[in-house]
Amino acid sequence: MIAQPSPPNVEPKYTPTEAKLFRRYRNECIAAAAVYVGLLFVSVRFVDRLSAGPAKVALALLPMLGVIAFAIAMLRFLSHIDEFQRQTILTAAAIAGLITAIVTMALGFLENAGVPRISMTFVWPLTFVIFGVCLPFVRRRYH
């Protein structure tokens, strides 16, 4: 359930500053993932015992702190890398967003044919898997 974007491949040609940025990003991702897993565990374990109300909603949404921490780590990383690399990553992310929108639409139409509805939590992993697949292609095209 932990959808983690594939961390940038650390190739030897990176400068020390870049290597430091990658390291920091990786550490932040691991921390965010740990927060997410911890909060998810707490949320899933106790959400059934609460009666319906704002507290239940808040408890259900608790793991979002980890998700948002994750997004912040990504944005921090993006704002520090050079323009060229950022463009590569943004292009891959844009393609991933578009393909995710198409795939989920197809899944939605399949619901009309009797396929059961799947949870919205699958959109995030789907986006990041597609992003991870697109990134090497976009990178190769730009290099």
Binding site: S43, V44, V47, A52, K56, V57, L59, A60, L61, L62, P63, M64, V67, I68, A71, M74, Q87, I89, L90, T91, A93, A94, A96, G97, L98, T100, A101, I102, T104, M105, A106, L107, G108, F109, L110, E111, N112, A113, G114, R117, I118, S119, M120, T121, F122, V123, W124, T127, F128, F131
Partner: protein, 143 residues
């Protein structure tokens, strides 16, 4: 080439080529959207009468042809753009993908608190609304 823009034009920031591209995109997009609407109607009208099987799945997925045509129109438009415009379009799309991933994750967690599962068909409109909002914001900011 001299009279690039007539005074009566409301949008002075567009060159004739850009206007032509935008017009072509609009035509392609509305063509695709029309096709989508027709196929959706056909699909919705006959899906309940079709027995489960490959035929039903194919009928359910029929509107995807229109959907993919819309995406092709969008990608063609992006490829015809100049570098600068493409950059903020791609950035907006990347942000839209990320925000959609976060928002759907929150919706997914709300399912644990008893919220009903939402159809996957809502991911596309969500992405496009966020994309449109980002685009407006960036256009104002970078002009």
């Amino acid at each position: 080439m001299i009279a690039r823009e007539s005074i009566s034009d409301t949008d002075h920031s567009c060159t004739p080529t850009e206007r032509k591209n935008a017009r072509r995109y609009k035509l392609e997009y509305f063509g695709a959207a029309g096709m989508y609407a027709v196929l959706l109607l056909v699909s919705a009208a006959f899906i309940d009468r079709t027995p489960p099987g490959a035929g039903k799945v194919a009928l359910a997925l029929l509107p995807m042809i229109g959907m993919i045509a819309m995406c092709v129109a969008l990608v063609r438009f992006v490829l015809r753009m100049d570098e600068f415009q493409r950059q903020y379009l791609v950035t907006s799309a990347a942000i839209a993908g990320l925000v959609t991933a976060i928002a759907t994750m929150a919706l997914g967690f709300l399912e644990n608190a008893g919220a009903p599962r939402v159809s996957m068909t809502f991911v596309w409109p969500l992405t496009m609304i966020v994309f449109g909002a980002c685009l407006l914001f960036m256009r104002r900011r970078y002009r």
